[in-house]
């Protein structure tokens, strides 16, 4: 009896096991494969480092320099005399450099208010890249801007020229097509326009991006400001299209805001989008890889 059992065992091991191992080499590899097929860890959440006016959770990898040229024209409802806003251009030139995959520093110069801005963008968590598999990316952005406009009527010392903003960006790529982002934000202005004005301002932003084709995405961005002030400022609302062409991203948009830094467009947007106070604008980015990737 034991012999028969032994015999059966060897026969089985002879035919069943090797046959299984031989026929399905690929299946065997697939079962051991670590390649992930779902959205645990997307290669990118948004196409560009800016959503429209504000930042996205996207940063370039270590050693990448991004050159940004941004324009906001005048209001389209200024009519044919102003060529629908094209006569008034407000420009920002910026450089973003990624020291590490998780650390980006940036500087910019805006023609509006002759403003210089600098920011630090720190990656806290990337979607799916931890043991918890948290499906959101978290980024911190702190921004400082210096208004260098000469104002003869007001003695402008350095303190009066400074504004700060701090943001926590929370984004999730939902699937192959859509991504959403929330942006709790605090802005501090050292100098406000009225004596009764508040220096601090809280806002909550929301943004989204949707893939239309492999290279074209539509985007929107809205910031709701929590303020009791009635000084004519409005909540920034923008709609855009991102066209990606390799080393460039072309972002075209319509926005009620004329400024391009958080310290500007959050406290000082005055346009009413639905009354036609819309600015056409664009961001063009050019990427340079300065050091070899690891």
């Amino acid at each position: 009896m034991t012999r028969k059992a032994l015999l059966l065992f060897f026969l089985l091991s002879n035919f069943v096991l090797p046959a299984g191992a031989q026929e399905n080499l690929l299946d065997q590899l697939k079962s051991e494969s670590k390649a992930d097929s779902d959205w645990k860890s997307p290669t990118s959440t948004f196409k560009a480092v800016r959503l429209i006016n504000g930042h996205t959770v996207e940063t370039r990898r270590k050693g990448n320099l991004e050159f940004l040229i941004s324009h906001r024209f005048g209001r389209v409802n200024t009519g044919a005399y102003q060529f629908f806003g094209m006569d008034q251009a407000n420009m920002r030139l910026g450089l973003d450099y990624s020291l590490e995959d998780w650390l980006t520093l940036g500087i910019g110069r805006n023609s509006f208010n002759k403003l210089y801005d600098g920011f630090v963008k720190i990656g806290i968590h990337r979607q799916g890249q931890s043991k918890t598999n948290l499906p959101i990316s978290i980024i911190w952005v702190s921004n400082t801007s210096i208004n260098t406009l000469r104002r003869p009527e007001l003695p402008m010392n350095l303190e009066r020229r400074l504004r700060y903003s701090h943001q926590m960006l929370l984004a999730s790529k939902l699937n192959q097509l859509a991504a959403i982002q929330l942006m709790p934000t605090y802005v501090h202005q050292n100098l406000v326009s009225e004596r009764s004005g508040e220096n601090g301002l809280f806002a909550l932003g929301a943004g989204a991006s949707y893939r239309v084709t492999r290279s074209i995405h539509v985007t929107m961005e809205y910031y709701h400001r929590f303020t009791n002030e009635n000084n004519g400022s409005t909540n920034p609302l923008s709609f855009g299209v991102d066209i990606e062409t390799g080393g460039h991203v072309f972002q075209l948009h319509l926005t009620n805001s004329q400024q391009m830094t958080e310290t500007g467009f959050l406290p000082s947007t005055t346009g009413d989008f639905f009354k036609g106070d819309i600015h056409f604008g664009f961001n063009i980015t050019r990427n340079f890889q300065l050091t070899k990737p690891d």
């Binding site: 060897f10 091991s13 191992a21 080499l25 690929l26 494969s33 990448n64 084709t213 290279s215 990737p293």
Partner: protein, 180 residues
């Protein structure tokens, strides 16, 4: 008599167990695209493969996200626009190696026939390469062209990168014997 049969079967079983499986987890696949504006080369050192010397069965699996490019943005575009690696996370080959001698110890020519699946599209390939059988290692090397069109890999019309419609793929595997 029964004992003899049992002994023979046992010996046969041992012999089959020796029909050797070889494995690699650090196979290298390089692709090279030569175009007028820019030559692009990407390397992948995370290819897994299995090879059975008895049957000649050969399979390998290429995790697409593991390709490394000279520019990180290129890598992103390769994954998102060309290979759609979220949808098709791996490329695979499933086939048979023939035309070689197991006893030959020097470098020899061999031919692989099988199904290569890239971007979810399976195409029959015949790939010629060289084979080197060592004591406990088998080295394989092959260079073959892959047409993007064959695998339904489309080049987005607005992309400024210049990518060849046919890329050259170099595979370089060192299989180690699986110790039983």
């Amino acid at each position: 008599m029964k004992n003899i049969i049992l002994t023979i079967i046992c010996l046969l079983t041992l012999a089959t167990a020796r029909a050797q499986d070889y494995k690699t987890e650090t196979g290298e696949v390089v692709f090279f695209s030569s175009a007028p504006v820019e030559d692009i080369k990407a390397e992948n050192n995370a290819v897994t493969g299995l090879f059975n010397t008895e049957t000649g069965s050969l399979a390998f699996l290429v995790p697409i996200k593991a390709f490394r490019f000279p520019k990180s943005l290129m890598q992103e575009h390769f994954n998102e626009k060309f290979m759609e690696s979220e949808k098709y996370p791996e490329a695979t080959f499933d086939g048979k190696l023939s035309g070689y001698s197991q006893s030959e110890t020097g470098s020899q020519d061999a031919h692989a026939e099988g199904k290569l699946t890239i971007h979810g599209v399976t195409v029959d390939y015949g790939i010629s390469g060289t084979l080197l059988i060592d004591d406990d290692q088998i080295k394989m090397e092959a260079v073959f062209p892959v047409k993007l069109e064959d695998h339904n890999i489309q080049i987005p019309s607005v992309l400024f990168y210049n990518i060849a419609e046919e890329v050259e793929v170099t595979a370089n595997f060192v299989f180690e014997e699986i110790k039983k």
